[in-house]
């Protein structure tokens, strides 16, 4: 799920960046520092969308660095248990398949793939129904339900299932 929220961060800046471009320098450093990072609470910071407020700088004793409290708006992404996600399959093997939704790594084990889908090895490993009508392989787009999440410093892991109504392949790469 995506959220648009306001976060705050204390930014340290070297004096060489002071001057007319101080604000720009702060903003680009902020983007470099936070975009693409994760925190257990907010999830993955997708993008900084705006600056609410930059507080007064505070000179650090001895170093010359200045700390600015920056309040910024950003879009974050955080999956929740029970959430339905659409994801792209990255790898299929006998254990199940792995899929990605942006920064989120999802594993759907073969326990959570419908029983009528069987693993087929070969050049392009896949799970296929006995009548061949539905096939999951690398690059397929699937709709899945999250049953577990874990957010690390840089990654988000999820356990997913497609063993439920209206879940499974929504786009087959071979028919595009």
């Amino acid at each position: 799920m995506f959220f648009h929220i306001v976060l705050e961060r204390n930014m340290q800046l070297h004096p060489r960046y002071f001057g007319r471009n101080l604000r720009d320098n702060l903003v680009s450093k902020l983007m470099k520092d936070v975009e693409g990072t994760c925190s257990g609470r907010h999830g993955f910071v997708v993008a900084v969308t705006g600056i609410e407020n930059i507080g007064k700088g505070l000179i650090r004793d001895g170093t010359g660095f200045v700390t600015f409290p920056v309040k910024y708006q950003c879009v974050v992404f955080r999956p929740f248990k029970g959430e339905i996600l659409e994801a792209v399959v990255t790898m299929v093997n006998k254990m199940g398949f792995f899929a990605e939704a942006g920064p989120v790594q999802i594993f759907v084990s073969n326990h959570l793939i419908p029983d009528d889908m069987e693993f087929q090895s070969g050049d392009i490993p896949n799970y296929t129904t006995s009548d061949g009508s539905v096939k999951i392989q690398k690059d397929s787009e699937v709709r899945l339900k999250i049953i577990g999440t874990r957010v690390d410093a840089t990654e988000i892991f999820c356990i997913g299932t497609i063993k439920d109504d209206f879940l499974g392949v929504i786009n087959d790469p071979t028919t595009v």
Binding site: L7, E8, V46, L85, L112, G148, R150, F157, T161
Partner: protein
């Protein structure tokens, strides 16, 4: 980030929930300061640890609230997973792969070579092996584990090239289309790699009989780079590349991280002692030394193939010969009735194929260094030869290093073969009796 627009959760009733989360996040906004650049690292770490503990409790409430919301508002059916009954067959990111529950500890075998964060328990591994073997045998395939260094290729540090090998620096093949080349300079790894002659044909033909793995004592980045050279299309080794980072025991290779039944696995490796527990699955490869550094590493004081501007022969090299052995083992395994395939054991087949190599040979050893004798005898017996201690009329071969011994002279007089021990070693590498005249021990040799 295209998922932004088509995430299906943006249905009307989830707005309430989004508002709730926003409020919850705002209410505890002092927590947002956890990103602060704090100069004191120790202080920072302890602070963040405390906060993480707080997050855990917040997360729990968020999670359960969400579930409630989804159930009430969206009326989504319950998953069929029974949390209580789950045996937790494995984990991904420390969550059960079946019920999603967070699991503590690091139990099970790591399968990082398949995907980061993946672990499986023994029961699950054997379940997967059991389903897989049926599928595999149905397709008339077995498993083949391939070592990299000295088996499929030879690599050297650029700094270790000898002066007579420097000409190679201008002769390496393009990395644009590696499928056509055989010698590559990997500047960023400071390495040069030479693929063994015949390796591309070998892999192509072997892939029709086997599901193939790479298993190397090299580290993971090296293994992946080598796989790119050997398998540029990713058709053979997709997620089946095992490096020393993935093994469960130091300096040992094991089949415990391979999702294949041991009775259906063959291994090609030049290093026998890496496979202490799986010698019956192993075909020991003759080492491929292309570079001088590799020769030196194994104590050979001769010119390298690169220095001699030479190479193994495409048609008579080790990979060519071993492919023949693989074909023979494969066809023997799948010979006859299909019903009892699961009960068959490729190790038995390998043993019987090996037993044919020197069958009918009766060998007497003459003046072999004491420490080398047991190995040679064992080799000869495994290849089906009979080893005798004393001469008798049934003897067909006298094996020694000195043509002047009594036994050697007897062999010449009785018109028996008199050969160097290398005759046995060569047969052992090539799985084929070698022409005796190539290894004949003559008077002038000593």
């Amino acid at each position: 980030m295209s998922v932004v627009t088509d995430s299906p959760v943006h249905s009307s009733s989830s707005d309430d929930f989004a508002a709730y989360i926003n409020a919850a996040l705002d209410a505890s906004s002092p927590e947002a300061l956890s990103d602060k650049d704090v100069e004191n690292q120790d202080e920072f770490e302890s602070v963040s640890r405390i906060k993480r503990r707080k997050f855990e409790s917040i997360k729990e409430t968020e999670g359960s609230t969400l579930e409630g919301t989804v159930k009430d508002n969206l009326a989504v059916a319950e998953t069929s997973v029974e949390v209580d009954a789950c045996t937790h067959p494995g984990s991904f990111g420390n969550m059960c792969i079946r019920c999603g529950q967070k699991l503590d500890g690091e139990s099970g075998v790591t399968f990082g070579y398949i995907h980061k964060g993946l672990r499986l328990h023994d029961a699950e591994i054997s379940r997967l092996r059991n389903t897989d073997i049926k599928n595999l045998l149905h397709h008339k395939k077995l498993y083949l584990i391939l070592d990299l260094d000295h088996t499929l290729l030879n690599s050297t540090h650029l700094g270790h090239l000898s002066s007579e090998e420097l000409h190679l620096l201008n002769q390496t093949d393009s990395l644009e289309d590696v499928s056509k080349g055989s010698i590559f300079k990997l500047e960023f790894m400071h390495m040069m790699t030479k693929l063994r002659p015949f390796v591309r044909t070998f892999l192509k033909e072997a892939s029709e009989m086997f599901e193939m793995y790479i298993y190397t004592m090299g580290d993971r980045p090296y293994a992946l780079e080598m796989a790119k050279l050997l398998d540029p299309q990713g058709e053979y080794f997709n997620a089946k590349i095992i490096s020393r980072d993935d093994g469960t025991q130091k300096h040992q290779k094991g089949l415990d991280v391979v999702l294949g039944q041991e009775s259906a696995v063959l291994i090609l490796d030049d290093t026998e002692h890496a496979w202490m527990k799986h010698k019956d699955n192993l075909i020991v490869m003759e080492r491929y030394h292309f570079f001088a550094s590799s020769c030196r590493q194994f104590g050979f004081n001769c010119k390298s193939l690169a220095e001699l501007k030479n190479d193994e022969n495409e048609n008579e090299g080790a990979l060519t010969k071993i492919l023949e052995v693989l074909k023979q083992v494969h066809s023997t395994f799948f010979d006859g009735l299909q019903e009892d395939l699961v009960g068959r054991d490729v190790r038995q087949v390998l043993k019987s194929v090996r037993k044919d190599v020197l069958s009918g040979c009766v060998i007497v050893f003459s003046r072999i260094i004491h420490s080398a004798l047991p190995t040679l005898q064992k080799m000869a017996r495994q290849m089906g030869a009979t080893c005798l201690a004393e001469l008798d009329p049934s003897v067909t071969h006298v094996v020694g290093t000195d043509a002047g011994t009594e036994k050697s002279r007897w062999a010449v007089k009785e018109n028996k073969f008199l050969v160097h021990p290398r005759w046995i070693e060569a047969a052992n590498y090539f799985w084929q009796k070698q022409p005796e005249e190539n290894f004949a021990l003559k008077k002038k040799h000593y």
